[in-house]
Amino acid sequence: MTIEFLVDIVLLGLLALTAIAIHKTRDLFASIMLTGIYSLLSALFFIVMDAVDVAFTEAAVGAGISTLLMLSCMPLVKKQEQPSRHHRPLGLVVVTLTGALLIYGTMDMPPFGSVDDPIQQHVAPRYLHQSMDEVGLPNVVTSVLASYRGFDTFGETVVILTAGIGVLALLGFRRSRAQEMQHRVPAMQQHMILRIISKLLIPPILIFAFYVQFHGDFGPGGGFQAGAIFAAAIILYTMLFGLSTARQVFRERYIHLLAAVGVLIYGAVGIASMLAGKNFLDYDALAANPLTGQHVGILLVELGVGITVAAVMIIIFYTFSGRLDKDDHKEPES
């Protein structure tokens, strides 16, 4: 039994405990913080499983932005959960039965971690052995994400844009000019330590986002993570200086535009390779040397992903906290 395996057992045990704690807690604020811990634990687990890119994304998105979004909608709803009149024993029976069946199903799974598993035999060897000659990047995850499965990633970027549009459609309307013009003293202005530390932190976070964006070909990172980190810096700024100030620095209209521009860049790379006589998103066509073409294509595509992800995250946060501002104007919370 290796140390790795012990760490694996402990982390998974902690995950299960946290999940049970989320079930038991009635306070929604505490549940949301527990969900943040849950995400961080699963990020650690992903590192043990060698999935560094995934761990990176989970830590930035799951533990960071997701927790933040949940918290930012907290003031809009009631904080305490009421005991439900649901028929609990019946639910327990259903869940136990389903779980037992699923665990029975795992008996047929190949042993964990074995090189001979069917999953390791199919396409993975090609990615691992030939991506260096075909795509020319050390990070195989980036090669597969942006090149081999580029069309898939395109679809996912569109899904993110659609979710942003959906949130805007649900919460973004009913905006009056007068309210937007008002300058309210933001809640965090009075916390001097928070303000000074955050001011120091924002520029390094932005630079780190660019590093993650453009170094994703060679190490862990890429458009998805960079977009989330970039958005985190701007969300920090918004929390610190208030929504109206942030809206003047990062205008909402431009951010809406950027969300679409990211997807357009991605699509345009696909169209460009079609015009050059190859398939949609076949980057070989973008330059005389196929490897250069791949490199240029992946760089542009990741840039598109990064722009869309960052813009949509900022849009979602703006929309939620915009709701908050309006509610404060109408009626003071009791």
């Binding site: 299960a16 992903f46 499983m49 949940m70 959960e81 439900s84 779980g99 993975a124 942003g164 709701r323």
Partner: protein, 118 residues
């Protein structure tokens, strides 16, 4: 001992069922979303566990390394995480709208109000 090798998959099923139970047993809509995200993460853990190779390393090519974990599940899950947060945000937006029109995010209250209206 050989059964212990399926440990990861068992925990995945346990997490999945905890998430499922939260979704069906809690009436609070935010809590239901939290349950869904637990369910979602358990699927992530299932995929990533299957990609692990004993003694392998992260799939970033370098000289002198022969054994890598499978990069394909990593790619699938990486994008799924970001799509997951986008859909969670959409769900939260719906919850906020429901809370604004009903004044409650408890399933029981909403059901009661709907029944009274009929």
């Amino acid at each position: 001992m050989s059964y212990l090798l399926q440990y990861n998959y068992w925990i995945v099923m346990v997490l999945m069922m905890i998430g499922f139970y939260i979704v069906i047993s809690h009436g609070n809509l935010v809590k239901k979303l939290l349950g869904l995200s637990i369910f979602q993460t358990s699927v992530f853990i299932l995929y990533i566990s299957m990609g692990k190779v004993e003694g392998g390393t992260a799939p970033i090519l370098d000289e002198g390394i022969v054994l890598y974990s499978n990069p394909l599940p990593h790619v699938l899950i990486l994008t799924a995480i970001v799509v997951g947060i986008a859909t969670t945000a959409l769900g939260l937006a719906l919850v906020v709208r429901i809370s604004e029109s009903y004044g409650s995010i408890e399933e029981d209250d909403i059901q009661k109000m709907d029944n009274e209206q009929c």
